[in-house]
Amino acid sequence: MFEEVGTTIDGDMIINVGPQHPATHGVLHLVITLNGETIKKVEPHLGFIHRSIEKMCESLSYRQFIYVTSRMDYLSAHINNHACALCVEKGLQVEIPPRAQVIRVLMDELTRIASHELWWGAMAMDLGAFTPFFHAFRERESINDIMEETCGARLTMNYMVPGGVMQDLHPNFQKRTKEFLQLYKRKIHEYDELVTGNIIFQNRMKNVGYLSAEDAVSYGCSGPAARGSGVSCDIRKIYPYEIYDKLEFDEVLETAGDSFARYMIRIREMQQSIRIIEQLIDNIPEGDFQTKTKAVLKLPKGEFYTRVETARGELGVYIVSEGGTTPYRIKFRSPGFSNLSVLDHIARGSKLGDLVAMMGTLDLVIPDIDR
């Protein structure tokens, strides 16, 4: 009898959110135990788009495997590619020309803004406000146009190669980026008006999904999810790569640890990315965009690990090389996987509607979790 209506012995209702559900932004399957509207347990079931990228990469050469990583966290494809390129460069011990470094950082930051824009719109949509989604896309599209002009694709660019970047910047790049900066500054106050300042929104977000700093570290959270709890974990600051140590930007931190803190982190991180772009856009050094590398790359025997900060948190690329042309084993430590594991912890005891808000603030990208 209990099975018939899907309840447990205690009278709790078990409900499947996903794999196809508007709030999960992809094919995440959550099995939720509910008592009325209150959540007692959240259990994620993964693997609906697991493509075994790690296994695929074992049969691809060091030039080829980078393109696959665009398909992991497709919203920060550049940063994923960057991490892989950095890891291969670490093994090859090549120096990257300064122009390539600046281009890479510029692209990373543009990607970060684009990713946060999309997150902002989707987050508001999860809470029932549809309009911000389209407003966010206006700014995001102009970033995508910049990407399309320089890299040739809007989402899966495959622009970073070991030794630099694939092509030089498009002549229009600086002009278009400045136009984007102006557009962004003209429109940013709307974000406050429509969502951030809205009293309904604040009530939905504040004091919801509390995550303490200790738990954030213990659950392996990174990126905005951990920084919302006051954990300083921005890889760009604490283990700087490329030219991040020479740039002036702040690591955004909030101490409240609730959904609203995680929201504010991302909103203010966009400002910091804008700051970085402003510093670099007029100071792109002349020179090569790529160092000459051999046609067939061979990494020495050993293990190489790089950490970069994607829009979602810390991405680790761990290459184990046997000295051949393909990696022996490759592991992607994806930020989404660890951030998802905390969902059960923070969702217990809150309402079903809040679960959606929490998933929004954790910014889950399912291909990133499944890989």
Binding site: K206, V217, G220, G302, G316
Partner: protein, 190 residues
């Protein structure tokens, strides 16, 4: 009170905060437990030798690599986590490598307070891989260990919930990331 915004959290203002205020936040956020003392690889080596004399070390990489016996892992993990001068509270990567003759568990540890990193490795028997779980020490290990369990078939002893996470229900025996795995049905040959 519904119409009144709750008090915690920050004010709703988008323009970026001054650097000073942010620096204050950083200090409040992470350094509250004590002074940051980043240990060099040499210091870490001495310290860990004290804790576990049987450990062997591999150097040359960016981080200190520690090879340990499987049976020592649980006690070492507890000490690494709880020792105030080490305080490795952040397990940022947990994975396994199939070397065809044996498996190797690799744990990447970091300390958010002291900002030092180590890598702990432990050899496992390939036919009957077993290691103690650390899910109660670092909670992130729960999901990562489940992933390793299904991908490599490593049995984590005393794991709270060792089930398939990514693979479909009813998947048996075959471990996709092992080197001898072959899927005759879905294999794409080019």
């Amino acid at each position: 009170m519904w119409l009144v915004a709750p008090k915690t959290g920050s004010v709703a203002s988008c323009p970026d905060k001054t650097a000073g205020e942010n620096k204050k936040r950083i200090d409040q956020g992470t350094n509250k437990k004590g002074q940051r003392i980043t240990m060099s690889n040499e210091e870490l080596k001495t310290k860990i030798t004290e804790l576990l004399p049987a450990a062997t070390f591999e150097e040359g990489g960016e981080w200190l690599n520690i090879n340990i016996e499987t049976k020592d892992w649980l006690s070492l993990a507890q000490q690494l986590r709880n020792d105030n001068s080490l305080f490795f509270d952040y397990l940022f990567c947990l994975t396994c490598i199939d070397w065809k003759t044996h498996l190797t568990m690799v744990y990447h540890l970091s300390s958010t307070q002291h900002r030092h990193n180590i890598v702990v490795k432990s050899k496992l028997d390939r036919n009957n891989p077993e290691i103690e779980t650390v899910a109660h020490i670092w909670k992130t290990a729960e999901f990562h260990e489940r992933e390793v369990y299904e991908m490599f078939g490593v049995n984590f002893l005393h794991h709270p919930d060792l089930r398939l996470l990514i693979l479909p229900d009813g998947w048996e025996g075959k471990n996709p990331l092992r080197k001898d795995f072959e899927d005759p049905i879905n294999m794409i040959k080019l």
